[in-house]
Symmetry: C2
Subunit: 430 residues, 2 copies
């Protein structure tokens, strides 16, 4: 094989970046993969649009079949976005024995497992490292790492928008709404921020990572998701005074064959490696049986980081074609998906509540927790803003989620407890 | 090719780890590389020694020729250490067309370029990712990244011993000597700690990284090295009060084709990603033209992390053999090595001096700096422990190393300056 031919779908900023890298680094790339990589066709909406990248005009087409059914094309790079229509195009391409490189996490979260299975049947590769944390080769690290280690836990900051918002709220003592508005004006948050702010975007990415790490078929519905909208400035202040930083953390962990995947605001010790990941940066922390702790940090998005990740994936596919080992990305679920019950999910919790400021209150509350065998590492009590009220902030030792829920339920029945203001997972401590 | 045969040199903790991984993960490894990997021979000192790993006793030999000249062996894994004798063995192996995987940084720092050249002539691979920051795939990231990005700066904490010592000095307000002694007792520092403490070990690793990143032939002599022995508790206290953390940082940077490689104690803003890398952990921060900032964090050493890295390298070599692209690890220096002059090295500096506590002192000192166009971002003046003395701590704006050296030289001639106590590079700020 002297040359591999590529069809590129989409010529926005990422697509243009891919073209620039393939041309600017052609020699180095050939040197690394052992053959030339050429772009044959580019699928665009408008052939006549002016573009800031130099291309042969004969490459441009508006007809998908010129890529998906073109016998001269070996690999399709998809950087145009979209879910349903794009999925149909990629399925056609795979049935025509084309390998796929995509940066489309929305597509992969919805149709990923199906595409990977179809690709396996057709001995084709589907690479999507650019779709999770663009500038960080986390999917490759997990798949390669899997071969010689066993992943036990992943903790990730995998959504740049929410990390930007929480960083501003923490460092500048601002409330959620004005920060979101500013982020929207700066282009760090979308006009409809629901998917980011409610944790769904992060949940999609954690699903992809958990499937790879644990070789199970975990679906989006298996992920417990809690967003950042309800985090108040007071929560942040109390967390800070107790030595913690609040981050939106995706967690995927396995214990005796049972897994837990969640995305929720989490308190980390302020010197935890993930606590210092600021603004729109992403980071994924992996605990492997042999390697121990490793962390990958980098830009979560951006057109050049994403284009670089796309080209890295492309190079791997070319190597696999030449090695005759394509079609192995679908990790056949080796294990039946077994989710942890609430009784089996262990962590620490931060709990904040408003109580009557009267004698005996504290004892009544601690009795409730004692009945559930919940004990505490830290307790703060201070006057609340309302008259005759006090606020209690507690951090538990390791307890099960069921112990937490039982305690909260019983607290509600206690007349001295006015309300549970908030509670968050606490992780990353010894 | 149905099977690749391996000769293993050394069966200590790393060697035993390699055997365990190859056996425990045989199926996954075959799946990833497309063929089986078998151990054929193991070179040991004592065949009869009791070992905690199950092996076929016919594999063991004390005769290097049974590995290096064995026509059935394709790849030599070297995890036995040593420099000159080991180098001779590996040269023999390469002349007999064996590929090499080694975790031996001392050997690679001294004979690496020569071995890589010899390997290229013989179309053999030499992989040594396990030799720098064992648990972090940094060499692979640089070589793969190189193909589609251009590295501009590397900052690394690449020596676990000194990072452990500095962490203890900072967090527990202890002096260098007692911390070193404790580290030696705990096995984190060697009986002769010179190579670690003086920065030589880090300099060797930075040489390997700089060669790869900039495609030049940079030798150990080109690296400016300053160790941690002279860092005092007062330096750390002042750095902390100004918002910095002191780390032993290896820096390799390129600017208009000219490079600078150094290892020296450096002040980083306390929220810089590298500032939170604690104890014996390593981390390498890479700034690429396209990707921007990325960081890799993990264990710098340890037998299982190193064994995992060795097996990852082994798998890459097997893929390369099957791809027919072996012998490409020697990066022919594309560029002539051009080192930056002191006039071209720009950074900020922290300077601490003891001065006479009398009227006009401060003005005399600032005049010296003004003459060299040096201005300051932060200045602290406070009484020194000696009578009639004061201490001044200054952090400059960006200046050249030459400006610093000129200023320090002129300060020595100033009668009001009793002594320059210390000065350090400041990096990682905007």
């Amino acid at each position: 094989m002297q040359q591999v031919n590529v069809g590129l779908c989409g010529l926005g900023t990422v697509g243009a970046g891919v073209v620039k890298i393939l041309e600017g680094h052609a020699d180095e790339i050939k040197y690394k993969v052992g053959c030339e990589i050429s772009i044959k066709k580019i699928l665009v909406n408008d052939i006549n649009k002016k573009r800031d990248v130099i291309i042969d005009s004969s490459w441009l087409t508006t007809d998908p079949d010129e890529l998906m059914k073109n016998p001269d094309i070996d690999i399709i790079i998809e950087v145009m976005g979209g879910i349903e229509d794009t999925n149909i195009l990629l399925e056609t391409a795979i049935r025509n024995k084309k390998h796929i490189v995509t940066a489309n996490k929305d597509l992969m979260a919805v149709h990923g497992q199906k595409l990977l299975r179809l690709a396996k049947e057709n001995h084709c590769d589907v690479f999507y490292d650019a779709s999770v944390a663009g500038g960080i080769p986390i999917i490759r690290s997990l798949t390669d790492g899997l071969a010689s280690d066993r992943i036990q836990k992943i903790m990730g900051i995998v959504n740049g928008t929410t990390n930007y918002i929480l960083t501003k709220m923490t460092d500048e003592q601002l409330a959620f709404e004005p920060v979101l508005k500013e982020a929207q004006e700066l282009g760090f948050a979308e006009a409809d921020p629901t998917s980011d702010v409610e944790g769904l975007d992060a949940a999609r990415k954690m699903t992809l990572l958990a499937n790879l790490a644990f070789k199970m078929e975990i679906s989006l519905d298996d992920v417990e998701v809690k967003g950042i909208r309800t985090i108040s400035q007071e929560d942040i202040t109390f967390a800070t005074s107790l030595g913690y930083t609040i981050k939106l953390i995706g967690i995927a962990s396995i214990n005796k064959g049972k897994v837990e995947v969640s995305v929720e605001p989490t308190l980390l010790p302020k010197d935890h490696p993930l606590a210092l990941v600021k603004n729109e940066f992403n980071a994924v922390y992996v605990h492997g049986e042999a390697v121990g702790e490793t962390m990958f940090y980098g830009p979560g998005a951006g057109s050049m980081p994403t284009a670089t990740a796309v080209v890295s994936d492309l190079m791997e596919v070319v190597k696999n074609i030449r090695l005759g080992i394509t079609g192995n990305e679908y990790v056949t679920p080796q294990y039946k998906t077994q989710l942890k019950l609430n009784e089996e999910k262990y962590t620490k919790y931060f709990i904040r509540m408003e109580v009557n400021d009267e004698a005996g209150t504290f004892q009544k509350i601690t009795n409730i927790f004692s009945d559930e065998n919940v004990s505490f590492a830290k307790i703060l009590q201070l006057p609340a803003s309302k008259e005759k009220m006090a606020e209690i902030v507690m951090v538990t030792h390791q307890i099960s989620k069921q112990q937490l829920l039982n305690s909260l339920e019983n607290l509600k029945d206690l007349s001295v407890v006015n309300r549970i203001i908030s509670y968050y997972r606490v992780d990353g401590e010894e």
